[in-house]
């Protein structure tokens, strides 16, 4: 019982009377544990809108979302009696430009802000802040600094730490690695992957990077003009012919494999996830 979407439509009411349909008839179910979901699609395809439904920041215009058994729909939210706040602790959402949410005097206070809002004691929140700052690859000396004197990448890490410190059951990340250097990006992805592996929590990550999708995800969702057009195995996605139709790139490893296959007229009947695996497959074929 995790997050379930049932025939969800979402319409942005704009200044013109028509409005804009950002989600159209989305059906989807994400388990509480064990999933590493990559959410991909062009800009404006509805990825962020979908993510914001997952912790009840947005309410569907039609249809309903069930988050850990709590039914979110226009009717249930309307009265204002539904307590949405606990959901935000259970489902942690990292925004696309999380650095704008920083506001406290020190990094430590800012990371502790989320946990404290959910009733965690001061001492415990500080303890969590220490743990969180280390897990995003910064050392504890950062805790005493002002969040506004950090570089862009550091700000991003601190704000992600702010969500991690809330210890959510499901983690949703809206393009967490945009604007980071390759080394920093891989480091952060390892953090998310570890949370997924070691704590067995589900992670949903919005990304434009096909390598991330291919290497880490065990499930991929493709959004296109508000429709959920693909939901399944990343391997099958990249084996499909219509990858080009959806404006997706091939992951580097697969590109390399294809190149090798063409140049040396080989056929490798594998789907290597990393360069190491590709190398192993090559060795097997050559020996």
């Amino acid at each position: 019982m995790g997050i379930e979407f049932e025939r969800v439509n979402y319409q942005y009411t704009g200044i013109d009377e028509k409005g804009y349909l950002a989600l159209a008839d989305v059906n989807l179910s994400i388990e509480k544990t064990g999933e590493f979901v990559a959410l991909i699609g062009e800009t404006g395809s509805g990825k962020t809108t979908l993510a914001q439904h997952m912790n009840a920041l947005l309410t569907p215009s039609e249809g309903r979302v069930r988050i850990f058994g709590l039914k979110i729909s226009k009717e249930t939210v309307k009265g204002g009696k539904l307590r949405l706040n606990p959901i935000r602790q259970q489902v942690g959402l990292v925004f696309q430009f999380p650095e704008y949410q920083l506001f406290e005097e020190t990094v430590e206070k800012d990371i502790a802000f989320g946990p404290k809002n959910f009733g965690v004691s001061d001492a415990e929140a500080k303890e969590r802040a220490k743990k969180a700052i280390r897990s995003v690859g910064l050392d504890e000396s950062y805790l005493e600094r002002s969040p506004f004197n950090l570089s862009g990448g550091e700000k991003k890490r601190v704000s992600i730490a702010g969500i991690l410190a809330m210890e959510p059951d499901v983690l949703i990340l809206d393009e967490p690695t945009s604007g980071l250097d390759p080394l920093g990006r891989n480091g952060l992805l390892e953090v998310f992957s570890r949370i997924h592996r070691e704590l067995d929590k589900s992670v949903v990550i919005i990304t434009h990077d096909m390598n991330t999708v291919y290497e880490y995800a065990n499930r991929v969702l493709v959004m296109r003009e508000g429709l959920l057009v693909y939901d399944g195995d990343p391997l099958k996605l990249f084996s499909r012919r219509n990858v080009e139709n959806w404006n997706l790139n091939m992951p580097d490893v697969l590109k390399l494999q294809r190149e090798l296959e063409e140049r040396f007229s080989l056929t490798l009947n594998t789907w290597p996830r990393s360069r190491g695996e590709l190398l192993k497959a090559l060795e097997e074929v050559l020996s």
């Binding site: 942005y12 009411t13 704009g14 200044i15 013109d16 009377e17 914001q52 912790n55 920041l57 009265g79 204002g80 009696k81 949405l84 706040n85 935000r88 602790q89 942690g92 959402l93 990292v94 925004f95 999380p98 704008y100 949410q101 920083l102 506001f103 802000f113 989320g114 809002n117 959910f118 506004f148 702010g162 969500i163 809330m166």
Partner: protein, 320 residues
């Protein structure tokens, strides 16, 4: 928050879009002054009809302008109530002695609490609120037992009612006219128009181009900053900020968590904008040529003449 239309340009066609911004600005000023000159029901009705006609002729959706009026409804009600309460001129229309006593005040407080608790379960909240107001008056009038603190009389006078009504209508006219201007005029055109209108102030050594630029930029950034505020509210809600609930201390924290990022974003945006302007060789105070030069056409003259006629008519109601 996305529905706020103040200062927003909405593309469209119609003669209002083709008018010179200078003509539109002048017409706006003249019409606003005219709205303050007239003071009878008939003339007010005529003025409202003219505004409505303008909306229809310009093919602007009345619904959109009504949405623009919504944020000022509170202001309208507030001024109306104050005028009715404190303007005690003319003939007495209605009188109701009120008793604030040792008994009626606690009953009043109880009634408000009762309303606060039960309003969640009532479907027609506006009607319920009106019922509360009427109920409060009834309570204060009929319960006169106990020690009296204060014994005012609620009275409505015909002139008070009339002025209150007029002020409300004038505000509606002014806001509607200004909304028409911003809906039909591109920010850049508005900027140009303002620059021309403000030119006479140059004799006081005011840098009118800069003033016009400042006004145009602030108008332009209202919707952008609202969007940003919305985003930050969502981001903080994800961190457990419940903007609907909380005691005073928590409320302060909520506001701080919104305001600090807003300040930073505004400074950052203005810095970016300044850099972008400089990168395009903008030098404050330097004479610049224009890509689009404003052209005054016969339509503009005709428009100003008609507006001038309205003004003369309004003036004549006052002194003839």
């Amino acid at each position: 928050m996305r529905n706020i239309v103040i200062g927003r340009y909405v593309p469209g066609s119609g003669f209002l879009y083709r008018l010179d911004p200078r003509a539109k600005l002048l017409a706006l000023i003249i019409l606003i002054v005219a709205a303050f000159l007239i003071d009878s029901f008939l003339h007010m009705a005529v003025a409202l009809a003219v505004v409505l006609l303008l909306l229809l002729a310009g093919r602007i959706s009345v619904k959109r302008v009504y949405l623009g009026l919504r944020p000022i409804v509170f202001l309208l009600i507030f001024t109306f109530i104050f005028q009715v309460l404190f303007n005690r001129q003319g003939e007495l229309l209605f009188e109701l002695p009120l008793h604030f006593t040792l008994l009626s005040v606690p009953v009043l407080v109880l009634a408000v609490f009762f309303w606060g608790f039960t309003k969640k379960f009532i479907r027609f909240r506006l009607i319920y609120f009106i019922a509360l107001i009427v109920g409060i008056f009834a309570l204060l009038h009929y319960i006169d037992q106990g020690i009296m603190f204060w014994n005012p009389t609620f009275a409505v006078f015909d002139e008070g009612l009339q002025t209150a009504f007029f002020i409300m209508l004038r505000l509606i006219i002014i806001v509607t006219l200004s909304t028409i201007l911003t809906i039909t005029t591109k920010p850049t055109d508005l900027n140009l128009g303002l620059e021309h209108i403000l030119k006479p102030l140059k004799i006081f050594r005011l840098n009118t181009e800069e003033i016009a630029m400042i006004i145009a930029i602030s108008l332009r950034y209202i919707p952008t900053l609202l969007d940003e505020a919305n985003k930050i509210m969502l981001a903080q809600a994800s961190r457990g900020v419940d903007f609907k609930e909380g005691n005073l201390k928590e409320k302060v924290m909520q506001v701080v968590s919104l305001l600090v990022p807003m300040f930073i974003i505004s400074f950052q945006r203005s810095d970016d904008l300044a850099n972008a302007m400089e990168a395009r060789s903008f030098v404050p105070g330097r004479n610049r040529t224009r890509l689009h030069v404003l052209t005054w056409r016969a339509l503009d003259t005709a428009c100003l003449l008609i507006v001038g006629l309205f003004f003369m008519a309004a003036l004549s109601t006052r002194w003839l």
